[in-house]
Symmetry: C2
Subunit: 449 residues, 2 copies
């Protein structure tokens, strides 16, 4: 749909000292800076210097700490606001939950981030499958998938209408006439649904992007359908090219059935690269990090995914395939992370220790080790092989393995014509090749009371 050759979209997924769970224990880690906003501002500036599309921040509104690794969380939207003021071009994607936010508050926070950043905000829309979070919001358990995604659909409808409720030309600023805004172009939304009642209008003009970029990260059946209807970028976890290709084809096909342009639904798998000048050096780096893991932590995380105790297993014992319930149960459960682990166990039959190491790097995302050329080859293979429109890059250790990626892998991708050598736009929509949506209310006559 464009004259430009198709190019990779690359985000830097920020995560305390790095994505490897033991990265903070590494002698070179910046464990003392994980609570320091200037640390993340520096990382964002590095990602921007490499012309990456965006930085991304995951989130859950609960304390998931075990004591074994950093669990200090910034609130994502204030965090990205602080990064917005330290950068000029890079996109800023924050995670926020439709289950635990009021839509009017969330619309204000992201609308404000989009204005403050000059049009660089993205919203990673999650429904938050977390008992710990539910207990922080007056609930005694997680609402069902049906309930959460039902609210999420309504929530997206509501915030879309709020962001659209001021037409783009609503502010007239006529000092002589004493008219600042044309009220006829500021609209109530009058939403009354099963989960939400919101009248509007919004209390701010339309933001530079019209709406923040809609991002989604769940891979359950409900998650995929929701993404195909609503998301403009999808973060996803795949361990193999084949799985990623199947996911990619499914999402693009579903998007078409909703009448959407599949080029405007970007699929961005996670990739966590250990980069060395030789294959052996990269493998040694990978092993070095895994040796720093604390097995008790990995087991506790795996038990959460499995939903059963693993206390009876020895570290060097093979993990029983039955532990993750077989494919049928997994699909019923609709928990995408469990599916990823089940696939690893069924395919590779690892010992518990091997499985813990496989998950230590990227919590189910694709952890690779290799030379810059090998990493670039993998990226190109997925990009050209119908598996990815780009990647959510998850450096195992910040900043060293971000630096290795940007200084060694990115130039190869640029030489191959697969990645930009400079920004051509100023907004995240422009970086991602997504159109700026007009207001749903543009040109309508009805005025708010």
């Amino acid at each position: 749909m464009t004259d430009q050759p198709r190019q990779l979209k690359l985000n830097a997924f920020l995560h305390d000292t790095g994505h490897h769970e033991a990265s903070w224990r590494h002698p070179d880690s910046s464990a003392d800076r994980v609570g320091d906003i200037s640390w993340y501002q520096e990382l964002a500036r590095k990602a921007e210097a490499a012309k990456l599309d965006a930085v991304f921040l995951a989130d859950g509104p609960a304390h998931y700490g075990t004591g074994y690794r950093p669990s200090t969380q910034f609130e994502p939207i204030t965090f990205l606001t602080a990064l917005a003021t330290a950068t000029e071009r890079i996109g800023l994607i924050a995670t926020a939950s439709t289950t635990f936010y009021e839509p009017y508050n969330l619309a204000r926070l992201f609308g404000s981030l989009d204005r403050i950043s000059g049009g660089r905000a993205g919203w990673n829309i999650v429904t938050t499958f977390s008992e710990d979070a539910a207990h922080n919001f007056g609930l005694t358990g997680v609402p069902s998938n049906e309930e959460r995604y039902g609210r999420a659909e309504e929530f997206v409808e509501v915030v879309t209408r709020l962001w659209d409720s001021w037409e783009d030309d609503a502010e007239v600023v006529d000092k002589a006439a004493g008219v600042f805004a044309d009220q006829a172009r500021i609209h109530r939304i009058d939403h009354v649904g099963r989960h939400l009642r919101v009248r509007g209008p919004f209390n701010a003009p339309r933001s530079p992007q019209g709406r923040p970029v809609y991002v989604q990260a769940g891979s359950s059946n409900e998650g995929r359908a929701f993404a195909a209807r609503n998301a403009e970028a999808i973060f996803t976890a795949h361990q193999t090219l084949g799985n990623a290709q199947a996911f990619y084809a499914d999402i693009k096909a579903q998007a078409r059935t909703f009448g959407r342009n599949p080029d405007h639904v970007l699929v961005l798998p996670g990739i966590s690269p250990f980069i060395g000048d030789t294959p052996a050096e990269a493998k040694a780096l990978y092993d070095e990090f895994n040796e720093l893991t604390v097995a008790a932590y990995g087991v506790s995380q795996l038990e959460k995914i499995a939903g059963v105790s693993l206390g009876h297993l020895e570290l060097d014992e093979a993990v029983p395939v039955s532990l993750f319930g077989g494919a049928g149960n997994v699909l019923d459960n609709n928990r995408s992370r469990k599916q990823v682990v089940a696939n690893i166990v069924e395919r590779d039959r690892p010992t518990l220790r091997q499985l813990l190491h496989r998950l230590a790097g990227g919590r189910g995302h694709n952890v690779v080790h290799g030379t810059p050329v090998q990493v670039a080859d993998t990226i190109q293979e997925w990009f050209e092989g119908g598996a990815a429109d780009g990647f959510n890059v998850m450096p195992p250790l910040y900043p060293q393995l971000l630096d290795a990626f940007t200084s060694k892998v990115v130039p190869i991708l640029q030489d191959r014509g697969l990645f930009r050598t400079d920004y051509t736009g100023t907004t995240l929509r422009e970086h991602y090749g997504l159109p700026r949506p007009g207001s749903l209310y543009a040109g309508t006559a009805a005025a708010t009371a």
Copy 2:
């Protein structure tokens, strides 16, 4: 309780082009910049250069626009985060509603602002008496004062415990042992109340100030009692020294009955100064702004306060005292702004036009006009006369009348020893002379599960 002489606390209350409702129409106004974050960053830097204590932002989660004046609102916490990164010392006070926020979300936003700003956050706690806001949050009307303040008390209890749930020394960062945080010093709060159920723990370490400074701005009976129990600074609107003295004495007395140190409950009335080199010049400036007002706008605002139509009144007709219901009805209604207007009408018997002009400058706050010495004299009189610990300064036009205040009035106050000539601390608590509270959980043995 300190060896320092008592000094004024002075905030700059930010408000688009200025606090006078017609300020945006003034030929010198920056009406084209009210949606531009850099405009407010510049104002905050000016306030900081003058060593003011804080900038302050009012808020309501609804569109209150009439078209007659700027109604573009930034979300306050992201807004102040952007100002935090543009300044180093000045405090940052944002308004947020206990009625329309979830406490876990609000605790995260303000906790994050306090960390990003290095301990400069303040939370202006409001319960939001607004039909328009209620309709944006699933309600069909404003909850009763009893209901709103009941939730507010529980809300403050919950967020206080969340902010305290990590003891100050919970993070140990022991790379060798693989222990990042001591889980025994991170506590669930297990709150189960009439309005809220929140388990905790919080998901971030204690912020630099321990807790943001608690600010309050309601003057109803419930508001005063709430403030006396919880607030560390109170913003209030008084037109006369006598009324301000009565309020001040009442708040300090109530604080004592709750066992609090009255010096840690600062009373800060609003003041909106038109400053001229001569009294006549200042009066002419005041008149110039009032001539720019649009009567239809002022009438619509006054009708909201009165709760009745004013369509039958001519501009030059005296406002009937009965219109604001008499003192008895006003107290029943508990709406403090109506009380302020009722007092003006009963005392001064203005025409409608005169009343509109009285309210145009500060929406019920004290609008003064005079030379720098006259303004400084008024401030000193209130400060030394038991009416104020400082002021929320509301320049009628930004930046010109902030500049006039900081360049002409502040030096007089400094010469008189009433205001600092430089910051002595780095946090808002330090500027305000408030102690940093210890964690409620400090030294308790119980660990979270």
